[in-house]
Every structure is written in structure tokens, then in C-alpha cells.
């Protein structure tokens, strides 16, 4: 029977390429990113100077890290609107541990991350044990944390910890952010595609009842991924705080959350459950960052960027719904 598949007439190169681009959204978004980079470089060579590449990398790193956690939650068909507040919360808790409780920095960082894990735990428990839709549960958490963040620092940004090797490694070194983003990309890609946890995440999102019937501990999978998402958001926030050398209660917020969701969607995680790619989200973050940075260099306003981002997300979703489902149907073997 295996021979039957190969014996079929092979489609031509271009149809195949087209299908690959549509089927594997990572490939499509990669092409788009490279095209955008070329375009902006041709329009303005300053785009690829070292200074600008650094800016680009820094902006992209935070979005990519937040998006990689969101992918896990979105594969479950859930959403985490509070991740941008976890982004600000982790460095604030770290600051309290370091500056107020006078703990050593490594411990303070761990405490900051544990605090975001607790945020994810609450999100997950609200969803799993109280049956609150994650949109609502994490919306509540969004406001709760947003307020708490400002209260905890009494309304004003705080200075980041003083210089140390750990501070450099955690974001003060200009390329630390993008390096972490790459490490996290690799880790999350392996976690999602090459471990039981990843398979169970896909299964829980793709067929919740079936996953339960198969004996998968779906509650653990859901709560665990909410925790992972919050922690990655918090980690990105710590990197950002170290980089800008300030602990800002208004950092992150809705903006990074929506950008990261967009990056995930554009990269091929449609929030329908059961489908998603961390690698795609990373490329989505790249494309968005290039677009935004390129526009800034050209003096195009952030509003134009928003319009284009919005159109892109809509187009990608339509492609998802129509083209991919059609392709699938067309290929169904009876």
C-alpha cells in the first residue's frame, strides 16, 4: 500500500512549492520575512546596520519568547490575556526579593519566575476546576495583575539590580535577549514535538474527550501549559527589565500580549486547538518586528503598522480556514 502513494503522479514543482507554503506556514512566513528584510534594506541600507539589527533583535526577542508560551496555550484552544502583565509582574517580584528582602539576585530571579508560575496556576485552575473560559479567567487576571503591579511599586519605575554577570546574561548584554529567545525556541520546539508532554498537548487541544478517553491527564496538561506560558512571559519581562535597566510596572501589558498572539497566529497557530508551531511563532515575531522596525526607519507611523498587522492576521486566518481545510479534504483518501 505504501507503494500506492509513491506511484501516484507527482505534481509539478510549483504546485508542490505552493502547497508546501500553504501547508507549512513556517515556510510561508519565512519567505515573507526574508522578502521584508530585502525590501527594507533596499529602501534604506541603514536597516541592516549593526545598530539597527540590535534594536530589531531586542524587540523581537521579547515578542518571540512570549509567543512561544502562548503557542502551548493556543494549541489547547485556550488563550492567556494576562501574559503581558506577568511580563511586568516577574521583574517587580524580583525587585521586591532583591531590593526589599535583600536576597541574592539568582534567588530573586527564581522567586520572580515562581510568582508567575503561581499566576499561571491560578489561570489554569480557574479554567480546569471552575470551568471559567480562559478568555474570561485571564481577562480577570489581566486587570488584577495590572493593578497589583502598579501598587507593588507605589506607582513608579524602580531601578534594575546593579551590574553583575547575571544581569548581563539576563538581558543587559545587547544580544542576550535574542540568544535566550533562540535557546527557548529550541527548547520549546523539542518540548512540543519530541516529548510526551507535547503530544499530550496536541491531543488535548485536538480532541479533548478523546485525549481523556486515552487516559491522558488533561487537567495536568492544561494547568501546566498555563504555568509555562506565564513563566515565559515573566522571563521575557525580566530580560526586558535588565536591558532597559528599569523595572516598569507599565511594561508589557496588552501590547506585547497582542503582538505575541499575532506572531503565533501568523506563524501557524490558529487558536482553533490541536494545531500550532513554536518555530512558526518565532518567525511570526521576526516578520512583525521587521515590519515595525522597517516602518519606523521609513517614518511610517505606528498606525499604518497596526493596519497592516490587522490585515495580515485576517488574511492568515482566512487562509487557515479555507485553503487548509480544502487542501485537507482534497487529499483525503477513502
Amino acid at each position: 500500500m505504501a507503494t500506492q502513494a509513491t506511484a501516484e503522479k507527482r505534481p509539478g514543482f510549483f504546485p508542490q512549492l505552493l502547497e508546501a507554503l500553504v501547508r507549512r506556514q513556517e515556510a510561508g512566513i519565512l519567505v515573507v520575512s526574508v522578502g521584508l528584510i530585502l525590501y527594507f534594506y533596499l529602501r534604506n541600507p541603514a536597516f541592516l546596520t549593526q545598530g539597527n539589527i540590535q534594536t530589531l533583535a531586542q524587540f523581537m526577542a521579547a515578542t518571540a519568547i512570549v509567543a512561544s508560551g502562548l503557542v502551548m496555550v493556543m494549541i489547547l484552544g485556550e488563550i492567556d490575556l494576562s501574559v503581558g502583565q506577568a511580563f511586568a509582574f516577574a521583574p517587580i517580584v524580583m525587585w521586591i526579593a532583591y531590593d526589599q528582602l535583600l536576597l541574592v539576585l539568582p534567588l530573586a530571579v527564581v522567586i520572580g519566575l515562581l510568582a508567575t508560575a503561581a499566576v499561571g496556576l491560578v489561570n489554569g485552575v480557574m479554567r480546569v476546576f471552575f470551568g471559567v473560559p480562559s478568555f474570561v479567567a485571564t481577562l480577570g487576571m489581566f486587570f488584577l495583575l495590572g493593578g497589583l503591579n502598579v501598587i507593588l511599586v507605589a506607582g513608579f519605575p524602580k531601578p534594575a539590580p546593579e551590574a553583575s554577570w547575571l544581569k548581563s546574561a539576563l538581558g543587559a548584554y545587547p544580544y542576550a535577549g535574542i540568544m535566550w529567545a533562540l535557546v527557548i525556541l529550541a527548547f520549546m520546539h523539542v518540548l512540543l514535538n519530541y516529548t510526551r508532554w507535547g503530544m499530550h498537548t496536541f491531543a488535548t487541544g485536538g480532541n479533548f474527550i478523546g485525549a481523556r478517553e486515552a487516559g491522558i491527564r488533561v487537567d495536568r496538561i492544561r494547568i501546566g501549559n498555563f504555568m509555562l506560558c506565564s513563566m515565559l512571559g515573566g522571563f521575557a519581562g525580566i530580560l526586558e527589565a535588565m536591558r532597559i535597566n528599569s523595572i516598569d510596572p507599565l511594561a508589557g501589558g496588552a501590547e506585547i500580549m497582542f503582538l505575541a498572539i499575532s506572531a503565533a497566529v501568523i506563524g501557524g497557530t490558529p487558536l482553533a486547538g490541536g494545531i500550532g508551531t513554536v518555530f512558526g511563532a518565532f518567525l511570526g515575531a521576526l516578520a512583525l518586528s521587521v515590519l515595525r522596525n522597517g516602518f519606523t526607519l521609513q517614518g511610517v507611523s505606528a498606525f499604518t503598522f497596526n493596519v497592516i498587522l490587522g490585515i495580515t492576521v485576517l488574511i492568515v486566518m482566512v487562509l487557515n480556514v479555507y485553503v487548509i481545510t480544502r487542501l485537507r479534504k482534497g487529499r483525503r483518501v477513502t
Binding site: 500500500m1 503530544m199 491531543a203 480532541n207 478523546g210 478517553e213 487516559g215 483518501v333
Partner: protein, 258 residues
């Protein structure tokens, strides 16, 4: 009776309600070691609900479950699996967007121990072997199961349950429903082979009474939330079972009309 080995499975006085719907009123049945028990009943009779209680998916409202004579409280599907209960659910429990081999090893994934990474090579290899062994052909085990026909999907679900190393009790909830005659015969052959090998006890749910009588040792009928009929397969026939199932409907009709 008392001299015999304990039943592989025995359920007593099981009741289960969903809100106002009483799916199971008071069900007691037993499954001997190495036996194939046919379970029949109308749609909505509660067959699948009973199966899902034995797999730990639903918690019963009342009743007890014994495995090899020992009472067990099934708190989760994974616990029931550890006790050797494997299932083909009526809805198959397949994940459409996952490949055939990942579905075959869903929640039984093989890893490169001690590394926690998936051993895809071994899973693919075994998947091919299982499917070849049953005789069902699937174009590629690397396609997503969404691409497959109903019969092929059912074959995957059956293979997944049957080839679990630790299966002692197999629960097959309408495993032939979407299959053509040939595929159906393959699965019935498989059940026959399992029976001859003797290691496993099976409950088979099917609507085709000829199939049921072909492989089952005994037949139970589930009606109105209870087991209303229990006979060795050798002592009944397709006609008797059919009569049993439709007589009530006839009575109700003539009673109402007259």
C-alpha cells in the same frame, strides 16, 4: 461455580445518571477469564456509558467493580489502563491532526529512556507491524488520521487497544460500525485469534447479531438500564435476538394502536 477461578471482571448494581437522564439503572454483569461476551442493546440503552465506567472515564453513581475477584475503585482512565483494561471507544478517541503512529501510541508513547524524547522510529516500526498483523492497509502511517476512511480509523483504534502489552480486558464498543465487509472480517478474525490465545477477556458491542454470535461465547442484552438477558451464544440465534429486540417495540405499537 465456586470452584471456578474468579471472573476477570464483575460489575454489580451499577447506576449512572446524566442530569435527568438515567443511563444505567442497576447493571450487573460478569466476564469470565478468556471469555468473549457480546453486549447488545438499542441505541441509547447505555452500553457506551457502561464501558466508560469500566474504563474509569465516568464515575458510577452507585455500584461496585471487581477485577479478578478484587474490588477496585476506578478513579481515572490511566488507573484502569494500569490494571490492564484497554478500550476501543465508540468515538475511537483519535486525534485528527496527529499522525497514524502518534495516534497508535497515544498516551503510550515510547521514549529513548532515560531521555524523555520520543522514539518515533520504534513507534513507526511497531505501528506498521500491528497494522500488517491485522491485515488492514493504510497508505502511509505518517499521514494524519483525518485523511483516513472510517474503517481505517477504526482499525487504528482497535490495534491500539489490542496490541497494548498489558491488556487483560478488552472493551470493544462497536468496533465494526464503519467497516466494510472485508475489514470487519479482519477484526472478527483478530478477536477470534485473541480468544484462542487465551490471555485476554473481551466485551464486544455490536449491532450485527451474526457477528456477535460468530465470535462470542455468551450474549447479554442491556435494556432499560439493566441486563435483561444472559445466554450462551450456542443456545441462541440471530432470530431470537432480533425478536427480543423488536418485540417490545411491536408490543408497544399494537398496545397503543389497539
Amino acid at each position: 461455580m465456586t470452584a471456578e477461578a474468579p471472573d476477570a471482571l464483575r460489575v454489580e448494581n451499577i447506576a449512572k445518571r446524566f442530569g435527568s437522564v438515567t443511563a444505567l439503572q442497576d447493571v450487573s454483569l460478569h466476564l469470565r477469564k478468556g471469555e468473549v461476551l457480546g453486549l447488545i442493546g438499542d441505541n441509547g440503552a447505555g452500553k457506551s456509558t457502561l464501558i466508560k465506567i469500566i474504563t474509569g472515564f465516568h464515575r458510577p453513581d452507585a455500584g461496585r467493580i471487581y477485577l479478578d475477584g478484587e474490588e477496585v475503585e476506578l478513579k481515572s482512565v490511566s488507573q484502569a489502563q494500569r490494571l490492564g483494561i484497554q478500550t476501543v471507544y465508540q468515538d475511537l478517541a483519535l486525534v485528527n491532526d496527529m499522525t497514524v503512529y502518534h495516534n497508535m501510541f497515544l498516551n503510550k508513547e515510547i521514549t529513548w529512556r532515560p531521555l524523555p524524547l520520543l522514539n518515533n522510529r520504534k513507534m513507526k516500526h511497531l505501528t506498521r507491524r500491528y497494522l500488517d498483523d491485522i491485515g488492514v492497509s493504510i497508505p502511509s502511517i505518517e499521514t494524519e488520521v483525518a485523511m483516513l476512511s472510517g474503517g481505517q480509523r477504526q482499525a487504528i483504534a482497535v490495534a491500539r487497544a489490542v496490541y497494548s502489552e498489558d491488556a487483560r480486558i478488552l472493551l470493544l464498543d462497536e468496533p465494526l460500525a464503519a467497516m466494510g465487509a472485508k475489514e470487519g472480517a479482519m477484526i472478527l478474525d483478530l478477536v477470534q485469534r485473541l480468544k484462542e490465545s487465551g490471555g485476554v477477556s473481551i466485551i464486544l458491542i455490536a449491532h450485527n447479531y451474526a457477528h456477535v454470535l460468530e465470535v462470542c461465547d455468551r450474549v447479554n442484552v442491556l435494556q432499560h438500564g439493566r441486563i435483561t438477558y444472559d445466554k450462551p451464544a450456542a443456545e441462541t440465534s440471530v432470530e431470537e435476538l432480533t425478536e427480543l429486540m423488536v418485540s417490545e417495540y411491536r408490543r408497544a405499537r399494537t398496545g397503543g394502536g389497539g
